[in-house]
Symmetry: C2
Subunit: 185 residues, 2 copies
């Protein structure tokens, strides 16, 4: 409940890999169990914290760092902070993890939404991959910009081959095992 | 306790008017009573959210809006968010209040740390007023930049004539009256 320790669920993965879908399912699940939970998605943060930033490497790093700071402040106040930005660079994610762990007031749980580019490009729900491959979108992660997969994520969700429910259960089981949430609803 | 509704204590006032001093006393008081509390002071926010912003009117407004958004996200998750930035412009403060009240998940309590410029310039703890009056610091609120006092703050602390304890008690009494905190320790 409200007095529980907070933690950060840090999703990382390519566009379309399921970060937002899984996040939203988890928000509903945590809310129904009475936890405080906040989803920091890329858009809300861009509007409120990062207006004016470009899609250059430096500005994207700044955007991800800001998400990290807000998530840290929330989590140290007992909130479950879920972030769902692509966050393509390992160094920046690891820097945020290090800040959280150094502070020692919350856990950092990295979830790799792992789906191969070709599967995402084939499904291409929003038509973005097609446009990126055609060169119409610059700096598109996984196509024209790098994506650095986590080396040791706490959780890996194979979103192109497993169902949403399987991925969500995997996350919930991990959190219960680590005593970050109470077991079973 | 942790399941209490959050609220924002929004300090506004000139440099040296006591915003930080009162904020820190309130943080200690709330913490000892078991509340979640987070102080967003100008420096931490500048480091994490607003690096690169100048002291132009537009950039200062952006900085204050970002503090407002973080405070709102914290407060809607049951945290007492205290802000201690000068926040000189009424329009920006009122915009943040309107966002919080429209959302309806937390209260916005504006505290005017009210001390006249001449009293602050006389005391001048950090020597800033002397330098500002000499023209060595540009855009110094109350000297070379405007300060717009709140018209209807929830609380007014006359920090040049009343003691810190009197001001703190005034805040605590207001909050207890409004059922935002439990009465008395």
């Amino acid at each position: 409940m409200g007095t529980h320790a907070g933690f950060i669920l840090w999703f990382t993965g390519l566009s379309g890999a399921g970060k937002s879908t899984l996040s939203e399912r988890l928000v509903a699940e945590f809310t129904s169990r009475g936890y405080r939970v906040e989803l920091l998605d890329g858009d809300e943060v861009r509007t409120h914290l990062s207006k004016g930033l470009s899609f250059s490497k430096e500005d994207r790093d700044t955007n991800v760092r800001r998400i990290g700071w807000v998530a840290r402040v929330l989590a140290r106040n007992g909130v479950i902070a879920i972030t769902a930005a692509i966050s393509p660079y390992r160094e920046i994610r690891d820097e945020i993890r290090a800040d959280v762990e150094k502070e020692g007031r919350a856990a950092f749980v990295e979830i790799f939404a792992n789906a191969p580019v070709n599967a995402l490009a084939e499904r291409d729900v929003k038509g973005l991959y097609k446009r990126a491959i055609a060169g119409e979108i610059k700096h598109f992660t996984g196509v024209s910009d790098p994506y650095e997969a986590p080396l040791n994520p706490e959780i890996e969700a194979l979103t192109s081959v497993e169902s949403i429910t399987e991925s969500v259960d995997r996350v919930l089981n991990y959190l219960a095992e680590k005593n970050l949430i109470d077991a079973g609803a």
